[in-house]
Symmetry: D2
Subunit: 301 residues, 4 copies
């Protein structure tokens, strides 16, 4: 099929490539003139596509996506379709759908997973929207997804795609932190001679074997001890939104939340909360502030 | 090789079978006369094995294992070897090793993963002990482990095998809870039309694909909505020991601990802690006890 | 001073009473004709007050408060002042301030603590707004607050009052849960003969003495064992908002979040997440679903 | 009464002083010859006391306490009594009681709270042991405890005193962390003009007023912003034991555990677990390691 693709960064660029390899006619656009773009403006993009047009938006979530969709709502025509394949918050999807719908333009939201491996292995796709809209872009989905039975789901109505992709990321946070905690504990025990080998052995026959474990074993092979890596992790928003959604539904998410908070804490030079704890211990116990505990006496408490 | 195997339950029985299929000469013993045992007593087991003997103990952890090892320390001879393949707490391994060592009997601890799938797919093995001791039982390990490069590690000295298997289970707790939380959140959203299909789609191309995910998809296929399953989970000790080990080393394990506590909470009819919270809310706010919140007024707080 | 008070429920009614005892001229209004109201409509309320008027809104947060403020923006005049003493989310305060400000009406947000004890002991007040606006309502604040040096703060600009009151409630969640957890653990130990007496003893000389502890001791005196109280707690929104604010600022709040999640969990008949855990344990280990663990065999894992 | 007191450090020294002010005849001993001790050896201590003797042990928990009690078991006589007022783990109490009991010496364990304030305000005491043993030391308890109705409890049999003191400290961890989290969140909001003033205002009329809050307000008065205090807190063991006790009883303690883990994390230069998370994000997403997130592209996940 013919498809416009806006945003030719690491993700978008690879997806364009996979689509082309699959025989699709991709017209790529990026605001950045240095990107390998096929057209130099949104208008040119629209002109190059035959109606009904399908335009896949693959730009950073938040303002960039909203602006791009707003612009598209003005240049596209009734019957055209916009797919938002970025990491948009699911609550923004109905707003974007309405923005486009006012001009008769259809909308599909699509969460995309697969990372740098997607080009060769395929991208897991989770989309939301009406059946007819999804049908319009299905040929592209079929090419982007991994070969095999799985890796694609039409999760529900508008927003459901980004929602389940968001939850996917929340689960990912919990799993990564679980491996991290296990690694930290094993590293702390002198009688385990080679933690890297332990993790490698887990790749087969265990209950915890997974793709993430495979990646971790690769990382440990490159850098045993992870000396070259800072214990510091960003978050891209989806973990936060997962917890906000859970709070709205009064659902306890202790593991995913703990994983997010561990990331937050990893980015703090020093914890202001812990300053309070230290100050209090000093007030009631005369405990030294910022030094090791008292010795040779019953700790005061 | 020739090997004695004590404990012919679900795990031990299957392991005996896999060893026999691999060409080993297994002499099985179980306290239970109804088990398919080859000998009727420990002494008979010892008599049937040629020195230096290798006896694999596969009985419940705690007292049953300790008693079996104590009995073996009396009937085995210098140069023989005991493998403890059960879920023994790693802190008991040096005690057991010493019990045997006094009589010149070697000891290897071995954590075994793989569950009901181990018979056909192989068991992941993590062992601890001296090199020469491990070498004696290596042929059995080679048969029990999965085919392929992974699934076996000599993790370190005595106790290291059970230790890393314990951590494996701790990670397992965290991963399972992460999937559970994601499932719960998705189930709560009406706009996701088929949660089971979402999970199935994740089997390929996603960051969170794993063997546990595969099993969850199987479970959801059999029982969409998991209506037939109570939201109630036991724990077999290894999660608890993982946290105790972390506490000793002053290592924060928020995710694994949250997963364990979620299991604890699932087994409570009612939370006594929450009775305190409810009682307090009633005291300061006149909040109804055991009923829904006040309406039509500013909640008192 | 003369003050209009809208909302004569448990909180508002008591506050009106405390203001009157302090010599203020309170004109009370409630939508409910059965309430002990002085006027039967907002217009009548406005007519009875001399300009510049001060009207204290004490109705449930959310739509009721927003509607009341909208109505007031239409019937009040330039130079008048509205105080929102309810549990409004701090993010709504600027919206309400602007609603009123368009007509020249000032706004002060005020978090109020003290519960059913406020009438006699005074209410802790945390307000936000411009200095001149706060000054207009200061005489009422002085009467409502407890005697003594503390119990009142002008926390900052519009929204700051409700914000710090919200954080106050978040801290409250954490403290209550801490006492609850301690109580649960002590109850579980047979060698402690009288948990109620232990808590009573803590009222003096300990590090954890507090007003909440006093209330808990009162509750335990009335109902030792808390047999008459369900282990079930509502939440009134402020705990949730606290966590949402923290997430926005990337601040880890593990204790307050754990306290909120414990409330969520207490309201679930059964945990869907734990169904997943149970289903998975069944899949890989053949663990019985909804029954106690296997016995006499090595648990499969 | 006449009482021997072993350990004249910060806690023991002040307790000796409070006992003397209360008219008791205290014979103090400390291993350290520079301490203001009355006798130079345990034997001299025993010689100076009239039978039946009461000796209060106030030395660091663990080996020092066990050794002291072992020594006392040899120099004291049948009918004498030992009180352990240190922070001994409750599980050691029965061991110590048996050590002494073999020679007919009685034992009482006593958790002591009150910190540097105990000298003037009195110490909260929680003791465990037989009624007749407790009766022997009651006059000292009556002097040490705060004036007023509360501050003393005979919690149960041997170990119960240290157990409830341990839980007291666990609750303390949770409360301190709750205040700390609230402080951190308030500090992060620019529209709150003076966090110190907010905390001070909470001293009266609020639900969260407490002695710990009073201490925090004192600390903030001395050092607004807590600039001089490192965000770093030790733990003295009782928090850990609280969680271990809960794990044994399968009781979820999410808040107390989160508070302990926050202390652990505050003492880490860098989190090895977070290195794993960072390594994984790099593997699947090409996310920069140790640098801020990607910009201008859809984050890969």
């Amino acid at each position: 099929m013919q498809i416009g693709l806006i945003g030719l960064g690491k993700m978008g660029g690879n997806m364009a490539e996979r689509l082309r390899r699959g025989g699709h006619d991709v017209v790529g656009y990026d605001r950045n003139p240095d990107a390998p773009r096929d057209v130099a403006s949104l208008q040119e993009l629209v002109d190059k596509l035959e109606a009904p047009r399908v335009v896949w938006v693959m730009v950073p979530s938040g303002a960039p996506t909203t602006e791009t969709i707003k612009d598209l709502s003005e240049v596209l025509s009734e019957g055209d379709l916009v797919v938002d394949g970025g990491n948009t918050r699911y609550t923004d999807d109905p707003i974007h759908a309405e923005m486009l719908g006012k001009n008769g333009i259809k909308f599909v939201d699509c969460g995309v997973s697969g990372g740098v491996w997607g080009l060769t292995e395929g991208y897991a796709l989770m989309c939301g929207g009406d059946d007819d809209a999804v049908a319009m872009v299905k040929p592209a989905f079929d090419t982007l997804k991994p070969e095999g039975e799985y890796g694609y789901v039409h999760a529900g109505s508008v927003g459901a795609g980004h929602f389940v992709k968001m939850v996917h990321n929340g689960i990912e946070y919990g799993m990564m932190q679980a491996y991290g905690e296990g690694y930290e504990l094993i590293k702390a025990m002198d009688f385990v001679k080679d933690p890297e080998q332990v993790f490698a052995s887990w790749k087969e026959g265990t209950v915890i074997r997974s793709w993430l474990l495979d990646l971790l074993v690769d990382a440990l092979k490159k850098d045993p001890g992870l000396e070259g890596i800072r214990g510091y992790a960003q978050d891209s928003g989806e973990g936060r939104w997962t917890i906000e959604a859970a709070i709205q539904k009064a659902i306890p998410l202790p593991v995913i939340t703990a994983a997010l908070f561990a990331r937050f804490a990893s980015r703090q030079e020093e914890s202001p909360a812990m300053k309070v704890v230290a100050a209090l211990r000093n007030e009631f116990g005369g405990h030294a502030v910022g030094k090791a505990g008292t010795e040779g006496d019953v700790p005061v408490s």
